[in-house]
């Protein structure tokens, strides 16, 4: 494609296309859906920037999920996600095409490489945003980000510098369904990729076996210290199996060794957008409830009628989880 044509790229809301573990990792699709809102307010379109080797299929996917344009850098040196190489390529594109907004998922990689990119572009970046909107009066991106361990939310703006950059907490926004009729442009601008990375990953192995991710589960059974013991907590697995859900946990339950770190819900863990969360023996600390706020329905079981969890639960059941859980399982087993 000739340069004059590339310069006409309409989409000034950019999304970093992270296609690793595509079928589990939906963050890019969630960002495209949110970018649609932002782009409409700004009267522009969405461009997904996609770096890697032989990745055309993902470009097609992003169009089917709502991207107007996908800019692809296809090069063997981009096969590995590497901070400095990615920073160099994207800084060059951002300087040339001047996006208004640039979003990435708050994945480990996103949170490592976006700060470096923002610094090279001398612009602002907010971390792990839980909401984004364009202020219709100022046209500025309002980036809502948790601070003080989630006790407060800060609305951050980047008044003068561009692009306005943010990493976004996975699981907050809902992706658009796949539309194979969607029309978008996929372009391959020229890239220069230097290939002497100072950081080399020599080995990479999966941390744990792949369960359905908590973020994508439609039913989540969450437990906290009120369950009293690891044995009781493990009953949640049985309940989750019956209701076809996934188990989540509060920070104290994980510290007690009742569940693995990847089950953590809340501010420093995962946010769910489940149809239903059943929260058992959790008092409802803010650090935890931010992770379940996005559920359609929350049912809480706690023996303390004044527990804060009841202030966010659609249905509050005042009872001791330790008693109710075995009885519930027994009743459900009889039905099957």
């Amino acid at each position: 494609m000739r340069k004059t044509e590339i310069n006409k790229i309409p989409g000034r809301v950019w999304v970093f296309g992270d296609y690793r573990e595509y079928f589990q990792n939906r963050i890019t699709l969630q960002l495209i859906a949110k970018a649609r809102d932002l782009a409409e307010t700004l009267n522009t379109g969405i461009t997904v920037v996609l770096l890697g080797e032989q990745i055309h299929q993902y470009a097609m996917e992003y169009v089917a999920h709502g991207a107007d344009t996908v800019m692809v850098a296809d090069h063997s040196n981009l096969k590995e996600y590497e901070v400095e190489t990615y920073t160099t390529v994207l800084a060059k594109w951002a300087k040339e095409y001047q996006p208004e907004i640039f979003l990435a998922g708050a994945t480990s990689f996103g949170r490592e490489f976006f700060p470096r990119l923002a610094k090279r572009l001398s612009t602002g970046l907010s971390a792990d945003c839980v909401d984004l909107e364009v202020d219709p009066e100022t046209s500025l991106l309002v980036q809502t980000t948790p601070s003080f361990g989630g006790e407060l939310l800060a609305e951050v703006i980047t008044p003068d510098r561009r692009p306005q950059m943010a990493t976004v907490h996975p699981g907050i926004f809902r992706e658009f369904p796949h539309n194979s009729e969607a029309i978008g442009r996929i372009i391959y601008p020229e890239v220069d990729v230097f290939s002497e990375p100072r950081v080399k990953v020599t080995r990479s192995r999966p941390q744990s076996k792949g369960k359905v991710s908590l973020e994508d589960a439609s039913v989540v059974i969450a437990g906290g210290m009120g369950l009293g013991s690891k044995g009781q907590f493990e009953l949640l697995n049985e309940l989750a199996a019956i209701l076809e859900g996934e188990v989540g946990a509060t920070r104290p339950a994980i510290l007690a060794g009742w569940a693995d770190e990847d089950r953590l819900l809340g501010q420093t863990g995962k946010s769910v957008k489940a149809k239903l969360v059943i929260s058992i023996g959790t008092s409802g600390a803010l650090q935890y409830t931010t992770g379940i706020q996005g559920a359609e329905t929350v049912i809480a079981i706690n023996r303390d009628p004044n527990a804060p969890i009841f202030r966010i639960a659609d249905l509050g059941l005042v009872a001791d989880g330790k008693t109710v859980l075995p009885l519930l399982l027994e009743t459900l087993r009889r039905r099957i």
Binding site: L125, F148, L153, P197, D314, L315, L317, V318, A319
Partner: protein
Amino acid sequence: MTESINIVVFIKQVPDVPSIRIDEQRMTIIREGVESIINPLDCVALQAALELREGQGGGNITAITMGPPQSEEVLREALAAGADQGILLTDPAFAGADTLATSHVLARAVSKLRQFPDLLLCGMQSIDSDTGHVGPQLAEELDLPQVCGVNEIHIDGKSLVLKRLSDGFVDTVRVSLPALLTVNKDLCPVRDLSLGEIEVAFSQREIIRWTSSDLNLQRDEVGLRGSATHVRKLRSPATRTGGKIVTGSPQTIVDTLIQKLESMSILDEEDGN
């Protein structure tokens, strides 16, 4: 491999977040009566530096912090723990800095050191603002390679072999020195300081202080004026409103729950009873 190592550890004084309270009217943090501490992950970075120095049979550890005059306390704690020198970057003009402006001041301080360090260590993120940006941005300004979230460090000649957890993978990483690492909590347990050591550090050691002019920084490069982001407003997290509360015998509770699951079509309805 007994070459001495020269390490800089960046530390931040933060409020002890679990004990803060919110002024709901003014939407600010009530700092009164809240203890200030070293950001917990920065303690891990400091401990790692001490162990690396010991493993190499020598070296030099410099602790650097940027903040108001009272953040000198965290440097004294670092000295008590075993750091060789503490540098406080303090100037009223530094106030209100975002990570872009903060990393600029820190980078300038590193460049002013007599000897450029082999290794720069930061906590992976702070408990108050939680961004994790300063490490990578400092690495960018100093043109250093960076690795974030490190939980194992081995020195191998002029490079490091590291382990870190990243997006569900355990990576083994090799990086050349000099380099910047941010560390996570699994790197090493933090040793408690004895009170005696703290007293010595408080009474005897000199803290180096550098201001804007020592670092040759202009007003619009630092603090609020040098920042790209502004906090427009603080607010409480949006809350859901609570619904129906049901009390009763365990069986009543179980029945209510099952009814709700049926009405949501999560369980199939059962005929009869």
